[in-house]
């Protein structure tokens, strides 16, 4: 089993990882990083919990059990963002506000729809990584149970 040291570090690391992911996500438009990187970072934070404490413990973190659903929520959100401009008479996947017009700022965070699109990518990537590894670990558990029914 994992040592006390690993467990302590893993527990301590979860929150900072998620905060880092959030920072990468919202600052992606002004600094390196985007929804993809943020999604992987957040997923890695969760996977660390999964490896150290086991799947059942990790699934207590909100959103982990529903990771697969989250991925498709992200895909749906991206599709909606792509299609909505059509209804407003613009080409597919136009972002607002349009070039040249003013943008709301909140620190370095800018309120443009491209950030929302990035959030959709974030959800999808997070859901993909956690969902895939979760599915693999579930399959491993099932195989172990078959070998050793006790």
């Amino acid at each position: 089993m994992t040592s006390v040291m690993t467990r302590t570090v893993a527990r301590l690391l979860l929150l900072p990882t998620l905060v880092t992911a959030l920072a990468i996500l919202v600052k992606g438009y002004t600094q390196p990083g985007d929804g993809f990187s943020a999604g992987v970072v957040a997923a890695l934070g969760v996977l660390l919990q999964l490896m150290v404490f086991g799947r059942e413990e990790a699934e207590k973190i909100p959103g982990v059990r529903q990771a697969g659903t989250l991925a498709f929520v992200g895909l749906l959100a991206a599709l909606v963002l792509a299609v909505v401009p059509l209804l407003l008479g613009d080409p597919l996947l136009t972002h607002y506000p349009s070039p040249g017009s003013g943008v709301l700022h909140f620190g370095t965070l800018e309120f443009v729809t491209a950030v929302l699109f990035d959030c959709a990518v974030f959800l999808l990537v997070f859901g993909f990584v956690v969902g895939t590894v979760g599915a693999i670990s579930r399959a491993i558990e099932a195989a172990d149970r078959e070998e050793d029914p006790s």
Binding site: G28, Y29, T30, Q31, P32, G33, D34, G35, F36, S37, V40, V41, A43, L44, L47, G68, A71, F72, G74, L75, A78, L79, A82, L86, P91, L92, L93, H95, P97, P99, G100, V103, E110, V112, A114, V115, F117, D118, A120, V121, L124, V125, G127, F128, V129, G131, T132, V133, A135, I136, S137, R138, A139, I140, A143
Partner: protein
């Protein structure tokens, strides 16, 4: 907003999902829901047409000139009314027929929901096809009808013949659909638009029009089951009867002539195309008509009659002129009413007696008088007797043929006489003579749709106005000019009337003289089976299958051969490319500066890791070595000054390593261990493949990096535009904004992979 225009399409497209939803609450509610939607869509089409039609033109991808250009014109109204109206009748009929059908087959009643779903999907795509004015949009709806037809024809999926028939229909209509796309692209390349009305203005006669129009016409003719691509239609009779009724009258086969009618403004500019249509149509009339007289199975008889009937329509388009264009539309309308009624009759008769052959039934007018009357009206309509809508269809047909000359008038009478003969053979064979089999009482929904459709055929024989009005509007759209053609009873000796009388006489003669010609007709049928196009189709399919097997054995036998099959041809092609292009100045070795040293230092372990992979035996070690190479590559990116790429590389590499290890853990340790201990086979061959692939990649990368940076590159443009996207980080702006559509596609792939992995790991189940 032009809502009345889009309403029919929206209702028709919503019908299929609505039925699925209704099906989850109860199987019994599916058919009524679908019928309700069909009726609503019918009403909406009628309302939209009454209120003057209209158009919607929405550019959804302007940079590719793709438009959602839909218009409720005469042609669209005609086919939309057929699709929804006959759809309604067929759904009403199916609500009783399908439970019986499923019961015969021992399948659960819940399978019916899928049936209604695909019928309504068919209806929705037909309405879309009817309204589409843009060739690409036409193509999309066209393929949608092919997909729906595949599931409907193969509805009895436990039956191998059903599956083969469904595949045949899909291949014949799907492969020719590609010709439609090619034709559309040819026209677009020359004239810069996919819009049919705009093309009609811009395109002049010439080889381009003949080629493109010919390709589009072939797609239409294949869908309308015209010779020599007719063989799929009799096979498609494997479908449940309501499907056949729908396919033949208002959907699949009608879609073919709909396409011809839609692009007719283009087709009529080319004499060659019109003459080809004439030849194909006449051949189909002859082949379909003669073979219909030889078939014993009720639905087969009707299938061949459909081939011949659409032959008429194609001939009329080929004859051209006002009579041709209006007559073709009128013919489709009259034929749809009569033929759907006859198919539903065949289904009801088979359900009542258990017999599906002419020789097994007879004299059914006594036990089933209502059905006999309804289908009698329909058969009379097909045979063009007076007081039915069919009389006028032949009147227009004869008028169109007369315009062209006496030879065509003679051929027209001959074709019409064949129709008369097989219409009598069908109706007379079932309902007259002595009763040879027991008949059960039929529930109302199996009889009333036939009576209603037959009634509509009779109604048109007395009040032809509404039918003709619709056909006139549709014909005007095909011609591109207002048409004024009249149809009425004239009690005088005009040529059309004489030709009609000649038809009845000749038709009666064909019926009476059956013993004289039946041997010849059967010989023709056997000859067609031996050397006909269906045999060619079978040979092609088998040949392709064998070729695919050969390629599969060579390429995809195991993972190594699959990788080699990509790397080796790729490497050889690149090698040829390098040999034939001038290489002067392409391969440069730049100077090594002091600031490049960290980069070189990172490259050394990368090379070591890459070389180590070739000698590593243990799988886990191999995964770790691969990931260490990846991390080194990330370091290289970082030294190159690409923090975004480096960040992504590190993250991807971490996830990949986890996935590798997780997957390896799924394989029992013993198996992995034994595999790792196996000696390497065919070592020389593997070394050869790897060297060719590595050397070619090396050459390509070297050549690319030696190239001087291009002035005014896309990268510069992206950098310039980044502030406009309210961004400071160009990479993110590219991903989310400039190339957002690419990202959209990529994340869809990621989502699909997730679905695939989860399904695979759970043994094919998602829950």
């Amino acid at each position: 907003m032009a809502s009345p225009v889009l309403l029919p399409l929206l209702l028709a497209l919503l019908a299929a999902p609505a039925v699925l939803l209704a099906g989850t609450f109860g199987v019994r509610s599916a058919a009524p829901t679908g019928a309700a939607f069909a009726a609503l869509a019918f009403g909406a089409t009628l309302w939209g047409w009454m209120s003057g039609g209209g158009a919607v033109d929405l550019a959804w991808a302007p940079s590719w000139d793709l438009r959602l250009h839909l218009e409720l014109d005469g042609l669209a109204t005609l086919y939309a009314l057929l699709a929804t109206g006959i759809g309604f009748a067929v759904l009403a009929y199916s609500s009783r027929y399908l439970p019986l059908h499923l019961e015969h087959q021992g399948r659960p009643a819940s399978d019916g929901v899928g049936f209604y779903f695909f019928i309504l999907l068919f209806m929705g795509s037909m309405v879309g096809l009817a309204m589409a004015q843009d060739l690409i949009l036409l193509f999309v709806f066209w393929d949608l009808t092919a997909i729906a037809s595949y599931y409907l024809i193969g509805f009895d999926r436990q039956d191998a013949e059903s599956r083969a028939s469904a595949l045949m229909a899909l291949l014949v209509t799907g492969v020719t659909a590609v010709l439609l796309l090619i034709g559309a692209l040819l026209l677009y390349a020359a004239h810069g638009t996919f819009s049919v009305p705009e093309l009609a203005e811009r395109v002049g006669p010439g080889p381009l029009l003949t080629t493109a129009g010919g390709l589009i016409a072939v797609a239409g003719l294949a869908k309308s089951a015209q010779v020599p691509l007719h063989f799929w239609l009799p096979r498609a009779m494997a479908a449940p009867t309501p499907v056949s009724a729908y396919l033949h009258s208002a959907a699949m086969v009608a879609a073919g002539v709909l396409l011809l009618g839609r692009v007719y403004p283009l087709l009529q500019k080319s004499e060659v195309l019109l003459d080809s249509l004439l030849i194909v149509g006449l051949l189909s009339m002859a082949v379909g008509g003669i073979l219909a007289l030889t078939r014993d199975v009720l639905k087969q008889l009707l299938a061949y009659s459909t081939i011949s009937q659409y032959g008429y329509v194609v001939v009329m388009y080929g004859l051209g002129g006002e009579y041709g264009a209006v007559g073709a539309s009128f013919y489709v309308l009259a034929h749809a009413l009569c033929k759907s009624a006859l198919f539903l009759t065949a289904g009801a008769v088979t359900e009542a007696t258990g017999e599906d052959r002419l020789s097994g039934v007879g004299g059914l007018r006594r036990p089933m008088p209502l059905l006999a009357a309804g289908s009698g009206a329909a058969a009379a309509g097909l045979a063009a007797l007076p007081l039915t809508v069919g009389f006028f269809k032949d009147e227009l047909f004869f008028a169109a043929a007369l315009e062209r000359g006496p030879v065509f008038a003679g051929l027209a009478v001959l074709g019409a006489a064949l129709t008369f003969a097989y219409a009598w053979r069908f109706w007379g064979g079932i309902f007259t003579g002595d009763q040879v089999s027991e008949a059960k009482r039929m529930p109302g929904p199996l009889v009333w749709p036939v009576v209603a459709l037959g009634g509509l055929a009779l109604f048109g024989g007395i009040f032809v106005g509404p039918y003709l009005g619709l056909a006139l509007a549709a014909g005007s759209d095909s011609l591109g000019a207002p048409a004024s053609v009249s149809a009425a009873y004239h009690l005088d000796a005009r040529p059309e009337n004489l030709m009609a009388l000649g038809t009845y006489a000749l038709g009666g003669l064909i019926v009476v003289a059956r013993p004289l010609w039946v041997g010849m007709a059967l010989a023709l049928s056997r000859f067609g089976e031996r050397v006909g196009p269906e045999r060619l189709y079978g040979l092609t399919l088998r040949g392709l299958n064998a070729l695919s097997d050969v390629v599969h054995r060579a390429e995809a036998r195991d993972l190594r051969s699959r990788v080699a099959a990509i790397l080796l041809p790729g490497g050889v092609l690149i090698g040829i490319g390098i040999l034939v292009t001038p290489t002067a100045g392409t391969y440069r070795v730049g100077e090594v500066r002091l600031q490049d040293v960290p980069l070189l230092l990172a490259l050394v372990p990368l090379a070591v890791a890459a070389l180590t992979t070739t000698i590593t035996k243990r799988h886990v070690t191999l995964a770790l070595v691969l990931s260490s190479a990846g991390f080194m590559l990330a370091l290289v990116y970082a030294f190159f000054g690409a923090p975004d790429v480096a960040l992504v590389a590190v993250l991807v590499e971490t996830v990949l390593t986890l996935l590798f290890l997780g997957t390896l853990r799924l394989i029992p340790y013993r198996v992995l261990h034994r595999q790792a201990e196996l000696p390497t086979e065919k070592r020389l061959r593997k070394v050869f493949f790897a060297t060719v692939a590595g050397a070619s990649t090396f050459a390509v990368v070297w050549a690319t990096l030696s190239r001087p940076a291009v002035e005014n590159s896309v990268a510069k443009e992206h950098l310039r535009l980044t502030p406009d996207a309210h961004a400071k980080d160009t990479v993110t702006a590219i991903l989310a904004d400039f190339r957002g559509l690419d990202t959209m596609g990529e994340i869809s792939v990621v989502a699909l992979v997730l679905l695939a992995v989860v399904t695979l790991l759970r043994g094919g189940r998602l829950r």
